[in-house]
Symmetry: C2
Subunit: 331 residues, 2 copies
């Protein structure tokens, strides 16, 4: 069905967990082709899953004509604030910028660059921001009188795992964020409860101690850590290094967006719930990026340019199927 003229040529910038997820996801989409991978490392030292050519970052400009959309797989803290605007001036781009509070500023910088290069740059794509944002928007638009709740987990939090590992006496560890089941039940039941931070999520840590470290002191340092654990009920479990390696090496995540609202002058309670249960957070985020890469190419083909978010993209553009097929098969 897909003819080669319609193949969308993708480049990946950055090859960590997310970049590897994008590489695997592209293989699931016959209308997309991965043409190159760009890294700050020595290309000779990068081993890919697919055997795709690996280039240095400086080769990007030379390969401009070979790439329809560039998927930026760097981090939101250090990589994207630089790369986002810089590369949107040269390519159509998709990124997963997830520093929620700085999105307006990031959008402005990318928008200016994308417009200067006549490119489309889709920012903050993934599941939160991304699919969760979409569900907050749809639910609020449909039920203007109500409240929206976002719960995360059960999932591995990279930031909180890093915080644990900085505690003196800790050799290794991971942290899982868990939604409180009774809070979810309260929200589902309607009535829009006021829930504190502590009432919505708990935190569970699995920690490997350094030889001779004081377990009680480590536990105290973790559960009282401001900004990370102090506002939560936190459980600390001490485990062996072997157990950490065996049972805590995957990156599950997920969560819930629930809006409960009323219609008919308050007579009827209506509940909208969206839920993700993910074995692999980076692979899922990558899959969302890849679907939006298809949309990005099509938006550019329509003559659009500038920065956009998932809110600006008509859902049909994400699918390889034609509008008529979608109406017949999925509407």
């Amino acid at each position: 069905m897909v003819v080669s003229d319609n193949i969308i040529r993708i480049g990946i910038v950055g090859y960590g967990n997310l970049g590897r997820g994008v590489e695997a996801s592209i293989a699931q989409n016959p209308d997309l082709r991965l043409v190159g991978l760009f890294t700050r490392r020595d290309p000779a030292e990068v081993k890919t899953l697919s055997g795709v050519p690996v280039h240095r970052m400086r080769d990007l400009e030379r390969l401009r004509q070979d790439i329809d959309v560039l998927i930026l797989c760097g981090g939101s803290k250090d990589d994207l604030p630089q790369q986002g605007p810089q590369l949107a001036a040269l390519f159509n781009t998709v990124d997963s910028y997830d520093n929620h509070s700085a999105i307006p500023e990031y959008f402005a910088a990318v928008d200016k660059a994308a417009k200067s290069g006549n490119n489309v740059a889709l920012i903050s794509v993934g599941w939160d921001p991304g699919l969760f944002s979409l569900n907050r928007l749809y639910a609020e638009a449909v039920l203007p009188e109500g409240a929206t709740y976002t719960f995360w987990g059960k999932g591995l939090s990279q930031g909180h795992s890093d915080a644990i590992r900085r505690v003196p006496g800790v050799k290794g560890g991971v942290q899982y964020t868990l939604p409180v089941p009774s809070a979810i039940e309260q929200v589902r039941a309607g009535g829009n409860p006021a829930l504190s931070t502590r009432e919505k999520h708990t935190r569970e840590c699995f920690v490997v101690l350094e030889a001779g470290a004081d377990a009680i002191a480590v536990e105290q340092a973790i559960v009282t850590m401001p900004g990370y654990f102090a506002d939560y009920d936190t459980t600390v479990n001490f485990i062996s290094e072997d157990e950490l390696r065996r049972n805590h090496h995957t990156m599950p995540h997920g969560g819930f967006v629930i809006r409960s609202g009323t219609t008919g002058g308050g007579a009827s309670q209506q509940v909208i719930e969206y839920r993700l249960k993910l074995d692999s957070n980076p692979e899922f985020t990558a899959s969302v990026l890849v679907a939006y890469a298809r949309a990005t190419h099509r938006l550019r083909q329509q003559g659009q340019s500038g920065a956009m978010s998932v809110f600006d993209v008509a859902p049909g553009l994400l699918s390889p199927r034609s509008p008529a097929e979608l109406r017949k098969g999925l509407l």
Copy 2:
């Protein structure tokens, strides 16, 4: 924040449960104003919730300049196949056409009319088709390797309730469709089970008998009815007329769209679930129509015309908030 120049003027065609739901929903949206209601009945005999002017259908053409978007609240069997194309030639329209198998044909007829009048006509808006369709599309685009399941209920089915009431010996009755909990659990657990019609849903009937009717014969007639009940496990409960009136007068509904798929070469299971739990099916459908009426007006303002579905509408167009507010508040 909303200035009067931006008020979107809405007309309602048809005043049953759905039309009343639209009237109530418009009152929840300060940027929309209901300017008139159009009915085939004698306007003098129609009592509205809001006191909005009631007109005859033939007044529609005269009031063209006063209406930005017309929400069509008639049925899919007899009303919309006529009214959809006819009114799309004169107005921007939104409807809830829900005869899934005839959508391509209906789309073509409405598209032709809307283009002739330079209008935007949004068809098949609601929750299924509508929000459920969107979720099938997003989930399939993000997880191309997997399977999508739609479960309905617990909810009152109008068509099946009508079928019960046609059985000789039945004075009144309602039918609820229920998803099978173990089937939902199987789907959530992944593995994409093959589920028969009988394994996905059960049907529960509450029936009032005519005086002297044979309960066993009525039950047999119901549970063996082809096309309605024969393929399902159906329970028939006999109740009093009073109980029917007291406990079965509301129109709850809802359901689930669940897609389970794999990423990373099959290594990771990813599950996306969307769920609605609705006290009032018509009020919720109406709320979706109203949000899409806002989008319809904006699409026309952008210079678009023709028939469209929810797949063609960028999510941001549904919200009264500006793109910058949405990025800051919901992304």
